[in-house]
């Protein structure tokens, strides 16, 4: 996958960190200190379809050329997460019990084109 930079236009992972202290949640969420709510953004023209990140093989390159050649007749694909991992939380519930849970698929690690 590719991480977004200031001038990237193609599909990439945009990092976004939510600081629980900033949103006033640090009193009931014990750990962690924040949430990496990364998201996918950017263009997926046809020749990038099916490419999670950089083209890495001759086969991929040829396939891309074929797709580019037929671009006029097709539409773009979407920039979506290709790898995700759980968000582990330790928090107080409303009875002041301490709850530990792992919420699946909450953190985007990499993006690619469908």
């Amino acid at each position: 996958g590719v991480d977004c930079s200031a001038d990237s236009r193609m599909c990439c992972r945009q990092e976004f960190f939510v600081d629980f202290k900033e949103i006033g949640w640090e009193d009931w969420i014990i750990q962690p200190e924040g949430y990496h709510m990364n998201y996918c953004a950017g263009l997926c023209p046809l020749h990038m379809a099916g490419v999670p990140g950089l083209a890495a093989s001759f086969h991929t390159a040829v396939l891309n050329r074929i797709k580019a050649a037929s671009a006029a007749a097709a539409v773009d694909s979407c920039c979506v997460p290709t790898q995700r991992r759980p968000l582990s939380l330790l928090y107080y519930d409303r009875d002041s019990n301490i709850v530990k849970t792992d919420i699946p698929d909450m953190i985007v690690d990499s993006c690619g084109c469908t």
Partner: protein, 229 residues
């Protein structure tokens, strides 16, 4: 969407950076509360004492490694990602209820959010006995449940222990918590009865690191699957 352009998918104009950040923060709050099945963020908690919390977390870790060593592969490790179903470990400290000189009621509360959407894998009550005195001392632990016919409580189960030295005791309360999660009042009541000469079965100070607690391991219920014929 690029600056000044429209989002090709939803047709919304690109947001100014400040309002985009506000929108993302709002989305983060909504997403976390939804996944925790919470209607809103819990009110300001009354955290247990630091000593009690550290002792409880240490006991939980020791219990988990004992269980894993004794039954490899039998008990699903809640910390193991990728199990698919969301797992919870809930640590509830006792609230002291009515008491006599050598008998006391302990209450453990559980929230509807977790109770309403999970199945219990295991529930363990942790009790600490301080310097019981010479020889084996009889202690009785009763699990009480509300009497459907009246305001009193009935004994759901009774366990007699012989305490010979100071230290922690664990008791399986899975069945009691499981039956509790199906009811309105999500409160487990435990009655401790110790010999007369012990005095109170509870530490005198609520911030004592030997305060009783219950650990529940639960797993999100498997969603109801509709099979297409």
């Amino acid at each position: 969407a690029a600056k000044g352009a429209w989002c090709p998918a939803c047709g919304v104009a690109a947001l100014a950076p400040g309002s985009q950040r506000d929108a993302l923060l709002a989305l983060a709050k909504q997403s976390i509360l939804a996944k925790l099945r919470l209607p809103a963020r819990p009110s300001v908690p009354h955290p247990p004492s630091r000593g009690a919390l550290l002792t409880a977390l240490r006991r939980m870790r020791a219990q988990r490694s004992d269980t894993a060593a004794a039954t490899p592969g039998m008990l699903r490790d809640p910390a193991q990602p990728g199990m698919g179903l969301q797992q919870y470990e809930i640590l509830s400290f006792a609230e002291s209820g009515s008491s006599a000189s050598h008998r006391v009621h302990l209450h453990f509360r559980f929230s509807q959010e977790v109770a309403g959407s999970t199945e219990i894998l295991q529930a363990t009550l942790y009790l600490f006995w301080a310097a019981p005195g010479p020889g084996a001392q009889p202690v009785t632990v009763r699990l009480l449940q509300p009497d459907p016919a009246g305001a009193n409580m009935t004994v759901a189960s009774e366990t007699r222990l012989e305490v010979q030295r100071s230290g922690w005791t664990t008791l399986d309360v899975g069945a009691a918590v499981r039956s509790l999660f199906g009811q309105e009042t999500l409160r487990l009541t435990v009655e401790l009865e110790v010999p007369e000469d012990w005095g109170s079965p509870l530490p005198t100070d609520h911030s004592d690191s030997h305060w009783p607690f219950v650990v529940v391991q639960a797993q999100a219920r498997t969603p109801h699957r509709v099979h297409r014929r």
